[in-house]
Amino acid sequence: MASQYGIKLAVYLVSSYFGDLVAKVCECLLRRGTLPWRSIVQFTELNPTQVKNSLLVLIQHNCVQAFAMEQEGVFGEAPKVVTQYMALFDNIIHHMRFPKFLAIVSEELGKECEEILEGLLQHGRLSLNQILDRHKETSNQSGGNCTAQDALQKNFSRLLCVRYVERCPAHEPFIAPPNEEGAAVKKRGAKSAKVTEELQTIEQRALAAAAPMEALRFLFETYTETDDHELESEENLSNMEVGQKRKHVDSEAGTNKRKKEVLWRANFEQFVRRLRHKACIENARTRLDDGAAIVLSAILEASRSSETKVKVESSIPLSMNTIFEEVMKSEDGRIMTLEHVRTALAQLAAISIDETYSVDLKSIIELAQNEEVESIVLKRYGREAYRMFRLLSKAGHLLETDKISDTTFVEKKETAKILFKLWKDDYLHMEKIVASAGRQSQFLLWKVNKHSLWGHVLDEMYHAALNLRIRNAHEQEQEKEILQIPREKLVGDLEKRSKRLRKVRIVLESSLMRLDEAIMIFHDF
């Protein structure tokens, strides 16, 4: 479940991209969890068509995933299949990162690819033909231009090859009800139970069921066999009790298949992975030096196609030769000697087993998280609190007030005061120990409880991001008359106001981009 302000930010984003109605439906799903269409209508008090249309928009833009599940009938009725809708929180938040995604593609693959991606981001999901049409429109070309079409297809497969684009997930996969699954797991024994454990929630199972097979996901092919779920589910939206009909369709599934255009979308996962790599490399650069950054960058580049999930703990083990070869590929790397690469690997604390090296990425991310929180502590509570917080954060266990005072060179009384303040604001965890013997009868022990604090910090960051967006919208709204005046008429006071507005916008937007990087460090990496 997303945090309080995470949800508020998501709803705000949806409302600014798709309007208030869609936002209302989305908020309902974010707050109450997965729901069937009927309940959404009930909770939002919108009319059925509005809800239906809103859901279609959300699905089109990859903010909602539908799935079908059998439900027990009430009052002795036969069980029926009901379509459920789940909001995809991460995907909604990704919408504010589109400029970053575009910048990555533009840098790595060039303008043409960027344009294709832009279309996909704008429309959520497109078939290749739609992409082609869009290209014709924007480039003002008449149809039938073969070379243009070839070029576009080529660029599209480049995007697919580096996995920035993927096949859309199934529209509405069928999920076995949870109780049935549970019983099945018990029978299958410990090993498979462990596998299912990873996919605990119904939502996770639905996502797994919807995802295209790995072999198909990035396969360039324009038509696919389909059960035609799409049409069917649209019918479902207007008539939700189609259990009978569906069974009928399912039984005939073999004959019912027909050719259907494949829909494509941006693969957010790959972009997040890229951004994660970038964040690690930048962290190595500021914490260590350029050499370490170049070597880490080479390692991540070389293992790019073999990473399977985003949050891998360490890079794939590579031999010295492979690393050195990759380092040589980059311009900055060419000046590095083998000895230099070795030193950089040592700096990165690469673990070497059997002549291969692997870098602990998780610990780099954790360092970055620590830095962010420490910097907040410094700003809010001052230098001495910063020192104490770092001490406790590094220690990772309880420390007594006096010990903290000694190590940080702060007077004992002052130490206690600062610790109390941090504790009051939930930055520290405190335990009292009452000793029966001796003069001092009570000891206070302190520690940083990372798990709960990190959640709290993340929520505040979502809050701050929301505030930046609200303020920006507010500023633009306040000065909207200026935005309408043609530039040549902006003189004197008007010119000043227009200048200020531009500056405000730059400051707010760049701050948001930076803040978003920090959010990703805590949530996505």
Partner: protein, 238 residues
């Protein structure tokens, strides 16, 4: 303390008037001695001996006059009168340790040491605590007596300040003189660490340091639309 008890102890005094007699002075002296380098607080003496305030005060004065006891500062509670037998030196718990003089943290001394350490590490790029200590000794950088332990404590606090970094020697490059695995301290080679704390994304916007973030809502009385911190931040003087 009741008067009857006092008279009782006075009465007792008469039958045994020699030095070992249980005079209030002797009772207190024994008690104070038994506390060793921890000393004892006046109120505790009263409680443990059941003597009255004026008697205790008078006896303490007499003992101090004969240089048998001394008054010491207890940093746990500076207002409390704390006494100790003359032959003892106050324990670390009372004085606060080597960094305290007369119950106060010697900040100036600490600062001087920090600056010196910073210079030495800057010079060597990388050094162990022992190395810094030896350099101080050999070059008579610090006039007062210090220990390696003290240098280590200073270096550790500088690490907490993010002014220097604690690393383990790899034996390579700049570490070639230091055995592999030894803990040492070095200045930053990168731009971030060791140059003081980095300002994070959150800390560089008003909301990151805002004391009222919990009351702030999009359309509330405290809101980003009207917030005075934003007002100040976005006032570019244009």
């Amino acid at each position: 303390m009741s008067r009857s008890q006092e008279t009782l102890s006075l009465k007792r005094k008469r039958p045994e008037p020699n030095a070992l007699a249980l005079t209030p002075e002797n009772v207190l002296l024994n008690l104070i001695k038994s506390k060793g380098d921890m000393g004892i607080w006046k109120a505790d003496m009263k409680r443990e001996t059941n003597l009255s305030e004026p008697v205790v005060t008078k006896a303490l004065k007499a003992l101090q006059g004969r240089n048998l006891i001394k008054e010491v500062v207890n940093i746990q509670n500076k207002g409390r009168k704390h006494y100790m037998a003359a032959e003892f030196e106050p324990s670390k718990e009372l004085t606060g340790g080597a960094w305290y003089t007369e119950g106060n943290l010697d900040k100036d001394f600490i600062d001087i040491l920090k600056k010196s350490c910073s210079k030495i590490i800057g010079k060597f790029k990388v050094a162990t605590a022992q190395g810094v200590y030896d350099f101080c000794k050999d070059n008579k950088i610090i006039s007062v007596d210090i220990t390696t332990q003290q240098i280590l404590e200073i270096l550790r606090s500088m690490v907490l300040d993010n002014e220097i970094v604690e690393v383990k020697s790899t034996g390579l490059g700049e570490f070639h003189k230091i055995p592999v695995g030894t803990v040492c301290y070095r200045t930053a080679s990168g731009m971030g660490l060791g140059q003081g704390p980095k300002v994070g994304a959150m800390a560089s916007i008003p909301c990151g340091a805002c004391p009222r973030i919990n009351q702030c809502t999009p359309d509330g009385i405290i809101s980003p639309k009207t917030c005075k911190y934003y007002q100040k931040w976005l006032d570019f003087g244009i």
